[in-house]
Amino acid sequence: MLETRSLAARRGFATLFQGLGFALAAGEALVVSGPNGCGKTTLLRMLAGLSAPAEGEICWDGASVRPFDAKLREAVAFNGHLPALKDELTAFENLAAWTTLENERADAQAIDRALADVALARRARIPARALSQGQRRRIGLARLSLSRRRLWILDEPLTALDSDGVEVLETLLAAHLEGGGLVVAASHQALPVPTANLRPLDLATVPGGSHG
């Protein structure tokens, strides 16, 4: 489903990684680990179609895709380390704006339910600037729960989440993988994914890294 061939990333003259190839099938979660600065976020942005690889190619459903490919944009839910929340808008409005943008037919009730699932029901109607870091991440989780995209790309999904939040993430990931979805996540901690679906990738072991 998602496949890379001899993928390489450079920053300036430094090679972050090269010759990276993997194939991820439906229902599998690729968890990328490695020290800071080894190119985890760079890899995720390439797979999301935000930036072009220095070398190699990325294939989605058997076809080679370039950055901002239309097919990839239909399939990817990208949850980067930036929250993409507008402080001026409420949690509800933020979520409603995103579901509309992404064509995820979700009505007001579905959005309210998604916010209730991440324990934000009572904070849904106040501006997002009044929310804590963890609550902001929870809006991201609510967004994933409304998403019917097949490929979830998550950059450090555990950051700022409390144990309840991690539990919500676990449920979401399990349901997504069971439904044949794919997950690519960068994480320093162990991601709550069933081991049968887990495909670990340690970028430090990929050749080309200039780090120790």
Partner: protein, 235 residues
């Protein structure tokens, strides 16, 4: 690498994307009214400083008027440009917009339209009032407003190209001024020229037609240029 089957966005999805971006940006702008007020106050103050600094004779003021009102409109537009994309770039919204299945040129068009409605349009409405300070008569004020109505959208459109190209650049604000102000020059020349023409007893038709032509050209071209610049900025 199949070149086929790239779905072309249809009219409905284009207008939906445009409406989405326009509505969202307008809503955010209305919630941060102070920022809008600052820009308008800036325009009012700059325009009002010139009569204080120069001779109060009607002739001098009447000569200065159109140029001052237009230059101040350029500066007010420039002042608001960083806000157009920088906030969305900083909080990750721009990534999500660029990754959405909706057509990006339509989305950025909605943002540019919201920018004009919140900065260009108020300037065009205010200008005839401020023109009174420059001893401009009724016809001149009407022509001034008409020229600004045609010209300020061009400022928002051209400015958006500069704003996206300078995303993420250090000292983006001053770089933006260097990049955008020369592009604004033709708009300034024809805009201020329209009022001068009326004062000399000529028709403002040619200047207004040129502004309208420039606007059409910018409307067609800039959404694609800005969309391309957004993708480059995110890479």
């Amino acid at each position: 690498m199949s070149p086929t089957a790239v779905p072309q966005p249809d009219a409905a999805s284009v207008s939906a994307a445009f409406a989405w971006a326009l509505g969202r940006d307008l809503r955010i702008a209305l919630r941060s009214k102070a920022e809008l007020g600052v820009q308008l106050m800036f325009y009012v103050i700059v325009v009002s400083l010139f009569p204080l600094a120069s001779s109060p004779s009607r002739e001098v003021l009447a000569t200065l008027g159109p140029g001052v009102l237009w230059t101040a409109a350029l500066l007010a537009s420039l002042l608001s440009l960083p806000r157009l994309f920088a906030a969305d770039f900083g909080d990750g919204t721009l990534e999500q917009i660029a990754l959405s299945p909706r057509p990006l040129p339509a989305l950025v068009s909605g943002k540019m339209a919201a920018h004009w409605l919140t900065t260009g349009l108020p300037v065009a409405v205010l200008a005839p009032l401020l023109g009174e300070q420059y001893a401009m008569d009724g016809t001149e004020l009407w022509i001034l407003a008409a020229a600004l109505l045609l010209g300020t959208p061009i400022l928002s459109l051209l400015g958006a190209i500069g704003a996206t190209l300078t995303l993420g650049a250090r000292g983006g604000g001053s770089l933006l001024a260097l990049l955008v102000l020369p592009l604004y020059a033709p708009v300034l020349i024809f805009g201020a020229g329209a009022v001068d023409a009326v004062r000399s007893g000529l028709s403002a038709g040619p200047q207004l037609s040129l502004l309208a032509a420039g606007l059409l050209l910018a409307l067609v071209g800039t959404p694609f240029a800005v969309a391309a610049a957004v993708r480059i900025a995110l890479d």
